[in-house]
Symmetry: C2
Subunit: 429 residues, 2 copies
């Protein structure tokens, strides 16, 4: 970890620079796989599953039997944990439901906005080193609350052709049953275009490696919406002199173990905290199973000493972290000053892993500085806000002349006519 003390403001941007990712070279590999899936459907998906996941699949669909079997294989303790997490995620996302209210902008002109669920959504759950059943809960639960009619879930199988039982159990808990064994670019293509087995969707959610991200970006240019662009995961911790260095070190390491390109940043007003965290990170790192991954991530990472809270908040807002932990005595005050972040954790006990799994907030969040303009996944991600309006004859009298005037000034006579014909019909001409 690089230590920076009292940096000049002009240097902040370079200090906070994220590791550069060159995705350009993936473009043609990804587009050719997408083309194949578009053309050959299931056959192409199976071909790439054999090539990349080393598995020969008869059927892409997860069967009822496999679902039932999975339920037997998950321990009761893990089941209880998943059920608790599901409950909390459900409660929090349900609280985001809004009811439309009708507004009269002028007498006789009634307008409202109604959230309507996206009919068909696709959820991608990566495979790889760990079964991300937590992501299943995070993406499925709000989709069900929103009322999406068709929820398709794709995830790569293991070499035994099976999906990890905890992934299937989480999907069952969340109420998702259209589950397919497909990973990587071929899964994104299948959900974008549809195959014989896998239904097409209107919006694709979920994390993935650089190939998956590139595939999501490419299909997003051709009519399929995606949750957000993505980059490596990251955390920023703001800490004062009373912060617990052991907790902070554990928080930094929990982020660092995600991948070699993860980034962790500590911003503190206290030299004591800085030194304490540095020592604790070194100590805790030793016993971490994913030590080598975390070590590489720590190479990209910074411990920054600043003069005061103002500098700390300005720097955090400039960084726009995916996760922001504020472990200071005045966390409530600082929380009010957060402008750019995905999800914010307040106080000594709110560790990032609480939000990653079970507190109820979503863990699919904007990385790579996208928190400046994107929200994390939330209930709204599964809705469109459709506007409605009803205009009475009185409404026409109230806004008709303005509409006609503006349409004429924009040289759109057809627009004007649509209004003036109605005005005339009401004036008895």
């Amino acid at each position: 970890m690089k230590i920076v003390r009292y940096p000049e403001k002009s240097l902040w941007k370079s200090i906070l620079e994220r590791p550069h990712i060159d995705a350009a070279r993936l473009g043609s590999t990804v587009s050719s796989i997408l083309e194949d899936v578009k053309r050959d459907g299931d056959e192409a998906v199976k071909k790439y599953e054999e090539q990349f996941d080393h598995v020969c699949l008869q059927s892409l669909s997860v069967s009822k039997e496999e679902m039932d079997e999975a339920e037997q294989l998950v321990s009761d303790k893990l089941k209880d944990a998943i059920l608790l997490a599901y409950h909390n995620i459900k409660v929090f996302h349900k609280s985001q439901l809004t009811s439309p209210s009708k507004i009269e902008t002028q007498p006789g002109v009634t307008c409202w906005q109604k959230p309507v669920a996206i009919q068909r959504v696709g959820l991608y759950i990566p495979g790889g080193s760990a079964p991300l059943f937590s992501t299943v809960l995070m993406l499925s639960t709000p989709a069900k609350i929103a009322g999406c009619e068709r929820i398709v879930l794709c995830t790569p199988p293991g070499k035994d052709g099976k999906v990890h039982p905890a992934v299937l159990f989480a999907a069952k808990v969340a109420g998702v049953s259209d589950i397919f064994k497909a990973g990587g670019v071929q899964a994104i293509g299948a959900m974008a275009y549809g195959t014989e087995s896998i239904p097409y969707v209107y919006k694709i959610f979920g994390p993935g490696n650089q190939y998956v991200m590139e595939a999501k970006q490419q299909v997003s240019l051709h009519g399929v919406a995606i949750d957000m662009p993505a980059g490596p995961s990251e955390v920023c911790v703001i800490a004062d002199e009373n912060a617990d260095c052991t907790f902070i070190a554990a928080d930094l390491l929990s982020q660092a173990e995600h991948g070699p390109d993860s980034q962790v940043v500590l911003i503190t007003t206290s030299e004591k905290t800085l030194t304490g965290v540095q020592q604790e990170v070194t100590a805790q790192l030793e016993s971490l199973p994913r030590k080598s991954i975390a070590s590489q991530a720590l190479d990209n990472s910074k411990l920054v000493l600043v003069h005061d809270d103002d500098e700390a908040m300005d720097m955090a807002n400039l960084y726009a972290p995916e996760h922001l932990i504020i472990q200071t005595d005045n966390y409530a005050e600082l929380a009010e000053r957060v402008v750019n972040a995905g999800s914010v954790f307040l106080g000594r006990y709110a560790c990032e892993s609480a939000g990653d799994y079970a507190s109820g907030t979503n863990h699919t969040l904007p990385t790579n500085g996208y928190a400046t303009s994107y929200s994390g996944v939330n209930l709204d991600s599964y809705f469109r806000k459709i506007t409605f309006q009803h205009i009475s004859s009185r409404g026409i009298a109230n806004i008709g002349p303005a509409v006609a005037e503006m349409a004429a000034a924009e040289s759109l006579d057809g627009h004007k006519n649509a209004m003036t014909l109605r005005m005339k019909s009401l004036s008895g001409n």
Copy 2:
């Protein structure tokens, strides 16, 4: 207009097909202009303004004097119309404000979601044949309500180097003062990267031609968010036997006059209405100044006769129109069945041009079928929903074991440690 009577459901998709746009060939032209702007800043913007807008600009910024002068040049009647429209847009978008509510998902685990305005937004207003001051209102008003700190507006000047006075007046009414003379790809590049004069932004809004759209797509792949992808404008009208054919024809023509690639679709349960609309369109077209544009658009357009309301609604939802007008006796009932649309107009008096200008709803809407997954611009488009959580020691007791269990099952020991260290500290170990 092509007339289709009682088509088989299997043919619907091809009947509703939109005119194909081949944007692929624009890619390299657009990327080289963007590169130039990124490298040379103002100098490149001025160069392309000279090349494309045939204007030699000393300064890109609109001066205070130009703003004042513009106010003198707009007629009082148009000013009043703009002020009325602004009022209604403001009332409707203000009604979309939500206040965060804190939720306890478990005792001691408090989560909430707070809308925070995007700090820097860019609004693009096209030039061309008509001054789109209405779009200035539509994009600026919610930006101000949301509280965006920096609102940058770019619009191409005329050959006299000036921006249309109504555009400047609308900007002034909406409270936007950072206005720049830049159009096309160079404007999008300037707002994406920043130049000496034009500030960079985090999200770019606004319509434009195919070059502008391609530029927005390209910058969206590199960290700048955009409002939505876009295509040609379109309307779908659902009408019954009591609908007013004169009004419908005027509505169809108001859409057709937008551009030769606009599309209009009538879905009706009544042969009488179909025939009546066809005759009225022909009659009204004759006196339309933009007749030749509208005629070309009508060539892409369809009048469809269906058996009943069910078919009408299914077809409209399949089409997912930007604008949906429902002129039937039972419009309130049909409104409840809208699943895919940008903005819906109910009854005989709610013409599309009301919403285009002055009813209060936004006119920046998803085209090209994107209504299946995108909302039109609304107040939320200018916010991120940042999640916050606070966890007490009691909260740790309630969710800690579940977090530890799930983290271990995902093989993320660092995540587990962050929680178990806190649990241990509370149990007195």
